[in-house]
């Protein structure tokens, strides 16, 4: 009998012990159970035929429901909560032979860009531990970058997979809205949320997405579209592909080192046959104001369910209303509280039209920007993933300054289009990512560009 899966899981736990445990560890894994994972792996080894991910260990962000390990969303309000059902994405990976080895640390309820908002302490960036790993899926990104696993699940609402992928020097994918089931993903902002994948390579990410993508009867927003073989895109060059360079993503204030890496990446894409064209997405500068109205508004509604009645933390109080207030006040951290208040305000009587309705209208314009560019014959857009490389812990104390980290990524969530971050080089030893954005459900072309970027970088090293 094969011992491939058991050996791979043992290796993952060995690496976890080396880099994650103790006061100087990365703090990327919140919950794990080695004997349970080894038993899972032994069951995979015993199967007569291997799935496409047979024996490959993976980790999942702690806002994705699992039936053995806790699902806390990085929050005290769900400490100790074990879901009674499993997320579809976990089931699909396990059915393909992958073995879950841990749940990863994240900003509380996926609200953050640095992983500093977790109730369980920040995750350190494996590339340089004085820097943030990005967020909110920082634990998943760090787990891949540190070599614990090759693939990891995260979730995206405004860039929470692509931004940490860029900061940690790995590949991160946000699929088209509807491409992947959200069943079992704890809701933050339902019109924006999507499960995403991390990989050490484009091929790893492509394989993981192939497995989890596709219609799920348990999520009415999952699309009934065929899922291509994304790995097949690796064999093609970029002849005939038109790549747009949106000028709004290359402002005069962009870090010159990031600009140089982007120019080099675009040269590499040209060298593989692509045509590069300057384009405009004129409403880009409005994406952050729109995002920080819509996402908190949806969050204020979604997080209303955490009140101490059905699950999680309960702070006893004299009456029901007092119990709600005490539980939620003690259970939620500062950033989640701030966003719930913001969302409640923009939805409240007298302010709804000025904020929420207006944001929905501008969101429509942002989506139209993408549609117009793609309708003009552009197949892909290339941008930096983030304006800078990973920053120091504590460097951004102003909430809005932190929100601006999402400036190049939130647009894809607002428009619902797929996007990928691929490493394009280093600045003073810290990785930087380039982002490729494609038309709705055209992950195939997105991966084609990503494979080309990755190959070009490998050749230049």
């Amino acid at each position: 009998m094969s011992t491939r899966a058991v050996n791979a899981v043992r290796d993952a736990f060995r690496r976890m012990a080396e880099v994650d445990a103790g006061p100087s560890g990365l703090n990327c894994i919140l919950w794990s159970d080695e004997p349970y994972a080894l038993a899972d792996a032994a069951a995979v080894d015993a199967l007569p035929s291997a799935g496409v991910l047979a024996g490959i260990p993976f980790v999942a962000k702690d806002n994705i429901a699992t039936t053995h390990l806790q699902t806390t969303c990085g929050s005290r309000i769900l400490e100790g909560y074990v879901s009674p059902y499993e997320a579809t994405v976990i089931t699909r990976l396990r059915d393909a032979g992958a073995v879950l080895v841990g749940k990863t640390n994240c900003d509380e309820f996926a609200m953050g860009s640095s992983n500093e908002n977790s109730a369980y302490g920040p995750v350190l960036n494996p590339i340089r531990r004085s820097r943030v790993p990005g967020g909110s899926s920082g634990g998943s990104a760090a787990s891949v970058a540190a070599g614990i696993v090759r693939i990891a699940l995260g979730s995206e609402t405004g860039g929470s997979v692509r931004q940490p992928a860029s900061y940690c020097g790995i590949v991160g994918v946000k699929p088209t809205y509807g491409r992947v089931s959200r069943f079992g993903l704890v809701a933050f902002a339902s019109s924006l949320d999507q499960v995403g994948v991390f990989g050490t390579t484009v091929s790893d990410a492509a394989l993981a997405l192939e497995v989890i993508a596709g219609r799920d009867a348990r999520d009415a927003t999952s699309a009934d579209r065929p899922v291509d073989s994304y790995r097949a895109a690796a064999t093609k060059d970029l002849a005939g592909v038109v790549i747009g360079r949106p000028r709004e993503y290359f402002p005069a204030t962009l870090d010159p080192s990031i600009l140089r890496l982007c120019d080099r990446a675009l040269d590499a894409l040209r060298a593989r046959g692509a045509t590069v064209r300057d384009v405009s997405l004129p409403h880009t500068d409005l994406a952050i104001p729109v995002y920080y109205i819509i996402a908190p508004a949806e969050a204020s509604s979604n997080l209303a369910r955490f009140d101490g009645v059905r699950y999680g933390l309960r702070i006893d109080a004299k009456g029901l209303r007092e119990m709600y207030d005490a539980t939620r006040t003690r259970g939620f951290g500062a950033e989640v509280t701030r966003r719930i208040l913001l969302g409640t305000y923009v939805l409240s009587a007298g302010y709804y039209d000025a904020y929420y309705r207006k944001a929905q209208q501008v969101r429509t314009l942002i989506a139209k920007d993408f549609r117009d560019v793609f309708d003009s014959g552009v197949h892909l857009l290339f941008t930096p993933t983030t304006p800078t490389t990973a920053f120091e812990f504590g460097a951004k104390s102003d909430p809005y300054e932190m929100y601006l980290n999402d400036i190049f990524t939130a647009t894809a969530n607002l428009a619902g289009v797929p996007a990928i971050s691929v490493p394009i080089g280093d600045v003073d030893g810290l990785p930087a990512g380039g982002q490729l954005i494609a038309r709705h459900f055209d992950e195939q072309t997105m991966f084609r560009g990503a494979f080309a970027l990755e190959a070009a970088r490998a050749e230049s090293q």
Binding site: V82, R218, A220, P289, V309, Y345, V362, P399
Partner: protein
């Protein structure tokens, strides 16, 4: 549209959050700081734009109003804070005439 301390108290009550008085000034400042950036939206002409709740690649599909069963691996009792005879227990509303300090209602 600047937010004041009473606005924060009001939305905190709507959101079922007991924000301590000591945190109100900081929240007033932070929320006003964030909302000042939202003023940019007012300058965009959206008179001809219909707002969309979502902008996915396709419209929301309809399905029969019966979902597939969700297999539960753990019973409700394993994660509910308090349960009796299959019902969730919560404190009585303070407005109930017969509410007592230690009473729980189903």
């Amino acid at each position: 549209m600047a937010i004041g301390p009473d606005d924060v108290r009001h939305i905190a009550a709507l959101a079922r959050l007991a924000v301590p008085e000591s945190r109100i000034p900081a929240l007033v400042s932070q929320l006003n700081g964030i909302l000042s950036h939202m003023d940019a939206l007012a300058r965009v002409d959206t008179s001809a734009v219909t707002g969309a709740a979502g902008v996915g690649g396709e419209s929301m599909p309809l399905r029969a109003d019966i979902g597939p069963p969700i297999p539960l691996e753990h019973p409700l009792a394993s994660f509910a804070p308090q349960l009796r005879d299959g019902f969730l227990l919560v404190p009585r509303l303070a407005t109930h005439e017969d509410s007592g300090d230690d009473e729980l209602s189903e």
